[in-house]
């Protein structure tokens, strides 16, 4: 832990109200959205300006004190969990919209601006910012950049990386990098690609320029109800094969449907094993045509009921259930653990079946709610942390799900990030040479490895410690054994 001399030095460089060191006052910052993992920071700085950010980074560099950057703290992988003896640099006070440029259809904002407030600010111009993580009312755009956040409309509109055109970044070495801009191309290496999703390990984003899109004139949402989970899964592939790119394509299983119905009562068919929600947008003639295509596709995959919402009120009703899924899961079990693996779409049925077997093995129920169009699963493992061993079992169960995702040709995280949560599974997805390359990349921007250390990229030593359970690219130690 840094000493009092260091604290006095930091205080001497910043306005007193921006520095919090009292052990009770730092408590609200001890976790992010992954609340199971907590750690008190050494000190919290609530930065108000780029100059203050630079001061903090300079201080950390000089004193070799690690720094963890935090936005709104809604992240689900513990990426912004403080480190012991480290500064927690909080950017929520930097929350101004700096410019809305209607000629280039871009907005330039500070990192603490919330995701939703960008769309709200340009609503009257008929524009919106596309990525919409479910935390969009609270999460900050800087955090979205750090995690490359997604949402329910990624299939058509992409992730954060597809919608950010420019960044200003402060490196711990004291440089300001201006990456991208309002034009579409920049010469030289595409460092912006590297910064999006870098989980606070390469620098601090202090300005973000995002692309604004014209709002589509019409929107329909179709709900298809299925008796078999596999049929719903196959229907997803069927819709995509047909050449349709829905704005959103979501799936929920029976347990999730029931939880939502008890909680939000939106009128989902409780007798269904699975439902698909399919949002189509565009001009009226196109949306009508596509809706009839999707309806007949759903029926051809044995949907027993298809409901089409054509006005915004009906659409909102159907979406409300999906958006209430996480809080609804929170009502049917004291705790839940949300996973985030992504798999190729054609593997959906098979992976869901193996999750069901794992659920029996661990004796823990799972509700499945996910971005089916993207193959991005969010199994919610239900457990009770007050029951001895259940937390550990849930984590082990989650780890096994992620390894199944890697085996199926997918990835351990689609949109929540690695953070501290999935750091061990990184050893399954990448080999030592690849991890080494990540470490060399990191030191390009942070020679002393002071930025968010211990997150996102495991050390080789850590991977070799857990080597006993290591499954790399489908090469199981005994591939002939059945594993459930």
């Amino acid at each position: 832990m840094p000493n009092d001399f260091a604290l006095d030095l930091l205080r001497s460089k910043l306005p007193s109200h921006t520095v919090i060191a009292d052990r009770y006052q730092v408590e609200p910052f001890e976790t992010d959205g992954l609340t199971a993992i907590r750690q008190k920071p050494w000190v919290v700085v609530l930065a108000e300006s780029v100059a203050q950010v630079r001061t903090v980074l300079g201080f950390c560099r000089e004193c070799r004190i690690p720094v963890v950057t935090r936005g709104a703290g809604t992240g689900l992988s513990g990426g912004a969990r403080p480190n012991e003896g480290a500064v927690l640099l909080v950017l929520t006070k930097m929350n101004r919209i700096l410019e809305i440029d209607l000629d280039s259809c871009t907005a330039t904002v500070e990192p603490g601006v919330t995701n939703l407030s960008i769309s709200e600010a340009v609503k009257d111009e008929g524009l919106f910012y596309a990525p919409d993580p479910s935390s969009q009312i609270a999460c900050s755009i800087g955090g979205n950049v750090a995690e490359n956040s997604g949402g329910v409309h990624c299939l058509k509109y992409g992730l954060t990386l597809h919608n950010v055109v420019g960044l200003k970044v402060q490196t711990i070495e004291g440089d300001e990098l201006v990456l991208g801009g309002k034009g579409y191309d920049s010469p030289g290496y595409d460092l912006m690609a590297l910064y999006v999703g870098s989980e606070g390990m390469l620098g601090v984003v202090t300005e973000v320029t995002v692309k604004l899109l014209p709002m589509p004139t019409h929107r329909f949402v179709l709900l298809g109800a299925f008796n078999r989970l596999e049929d719903a899964g196959d229907c997803v592939a069927g819709i995509v094969s047909e050449g349709l790119v829905p704005a959103g394509l979501e799936m929920m299983d029976k347990l999730a449907i029931h939880a939502v119905e008890e909680f939000a009562n939106v009128g989902y068919p409780t007798e269904a094993e699975a439902i698909l929600l399919c949002e189509l947008d565009g001009c009226l003639a196109e949306v009508e045509h596509q809706a009839s295509q999707v309806e007949s596709l759903m029926r051809s995959f044995n949907a027993f009921d298809v409901d089409t919402a054509k006005d915004s009120e009906q659409c909102e009703r159907l979406w409300r259930g999906r958006k209430a899924a996480f809080p609804a899961a929170g009502r049917i079990a004291p705790d839940y653990y949300c996973m985030d693996g992504t798999i190729p779409r054609h593997e959906i049925g098979r992976v869901l079946r193996s999750i069901a077997s794992l659920s029996e093995k661990y004796g823990l129920a799972v509700a499945n709610v996910f971005h089916a169009g993207d193959g991005n699963l969010h199994p919610l493992i239900l457990y009770d942390a007050s029951v001895r061993d259940e937390q550990r079992k849930a984590e082990e169960f989650g780890g096994e799900i992620l390894e199944r995702c890697v085996l199926a040709g997918g990835t351990i995280t689609g949109e929540h990030g690695v953070g501290i949560e999935k750091i061990d599974q990184m050893c399954s997805q990448f080999n030592n040479d690849e991890l080494d390359q990540f470490h060399r990349l990191r030191t390009v921007f942070d020679r002393f490895e002071l930025m968010n250390p211990g997150k996102a990229i495991p050390t080789l030593a850590r991977c070799s410690e857990i080597g006993g359970m290591h499954v790399h690219r489908g090469q199981l130690p005994h591939p002939d054994l059945e594993r459930f």
Binding site: D103, G183, Y184, Y189, V245, V418
Partner: protein
């Protein structure tokens, strides 16, 4: 399509060069004249490393070896009604997918369909140490580890050899129509700007020789709604020649500059320039009489030498240098970024 796996040879060639600190320049099928300017280096070709590794149309993803000719690849995916949204230049059928990624060039639809790097989901590479590494994957959402694959887009073979890549595909639009009209550059800019702010099927713009060409793509009813607005005549502009930099404009031997900017540019000495503007005013191709770059007056921009000009020095800045070092500590690969 022929199916050849030359990855072992490519990897051992890099290992060999790395051990002897030799320089290598990577070429595909030599479609780009720029790749010829790396002197005193041996050339390493990906020509014998070709073929589709995995393609499932219902996944909208293709995994392909880097030496695969784009023209052949386009044929296979087009047979399934799919396309690369970034419309890479085919350069007379000689361009390869590896070359497209390394140059990072996107075609006329870039502002609406996204860039090459946005469609790039994963790569397998050999770095300058001869290590064979995989980054990213073949699913559209993937945030595990730094996004190294997208860093390879536009890296011009300076960081490593691309062995294979997974790319996102899009359904081909059902209908495409072009309208052309006579107008001034100021009017053209006005028309194009208005389109940015409203939903439409606009998928390409090109202003040259006093004509504005607009391309509309999508479902038939939507395209008809957009095209039906005015009384323009249907044009016969070739978007594929624009994409391949093969319009007569590109064929002449004057110095050619590529200028990326926020919106329509105004130039000093405009009458000495010959200009083609695409991407809704955000990309300008300018030919100059001398070897001096044109001067843009009104907006921030990035100018790159494109053809018939000496190669620019490698990307400057300490981070770019260290980045190169991180992948290629012994300097096996060429260090000049062409753009």
């Amino acid at each position: 399509m022929s199916d050849l796996d030359d990855s072992r040879h490519l990897q051992s060639a890099v290992e060999h060069a790395s051990a002897g600190s030799e320089g290598i320049s990577i070429v595909g099928h030599g479609s780009k004249p720029q790749s010829a300017n790396a002197a005193q280096r041996s050339f390493m070709s990906t020509e014998d490393h070709r073929g589709i590794i995995e393609y499932r149309p219902d996944e909208l993803v293709v995994t392909v070896r880097s030496g695969t000719p784009l023209a052949e690849l386009n044929e296979v995916i087009a047979a399934n009604g799919q396309m690369f949204a970034f419309e890479p230049p085919l350069y007379g059928g000689r361009g390869t997918i590896g070359g497209a990624i390394a140059s990072g060039l996107s075609g006329p639809g870039r502002p609406w369909y996204g860039s090459l790097r946005e469609s790039l989901l994963g790569v397998e590479i050999v770095n300058g140490l001869g290590q064979r590494l995989k980054f990213g994957g073949k699913v559209i959402k993937n945030v595990a580890g730094f996004d190294v694959s997208r860093l390879f887009a536009g890296s011009w073979g300076t960081l490593g050899v691309i062995l294979s890549a997974s790319l996102r595909l899009w359904p081909m639009p059902k209908t495409t129509q072009t309208v052309s009209r006579n107008c001034s550059d100021v009017d053209a800019f006005q028309i194009v700007s208005e389109y940015r702010r409203k939903p439409s099927t606009l998928s390409g713009t090109c202003y040259m020789d006093g004509h504005l060409h607009l391309r509309f793509s999508g479902a038939a009813p939507s395209v008809e709604a957009d095209v039906g607005d005015g009384s323009e005549q249907t044009g016969s502009f070739s978007w594929s020649l624009l994409r391949d930099h093969a319009l007569d404009f590109f064929e002449e031997s004057s110095p050619l500059w590529r200028i990326s900017l926020n919106r329509g540019a105004f130039f000093e000495n405009a009458d000495e320039l010959s200009i083609v503007t695409e991407w809704g005013g955000s990309l300008v191709w300018a030919k100059t009489e001398s070897q001096d770059p044109p001067t843009v007056r009104n907006t921030s921009h990035q100018i790159s030498a494109f053809r018939h000009l000496p190669t620019q020095p490698s990307s400057s800045g300490k981070y770019a240098e260290r980045l190169k070092q991180a992948f290629d500590p012994k300097g096996v690969f060429s260090s000049s970024l062409v753009l």
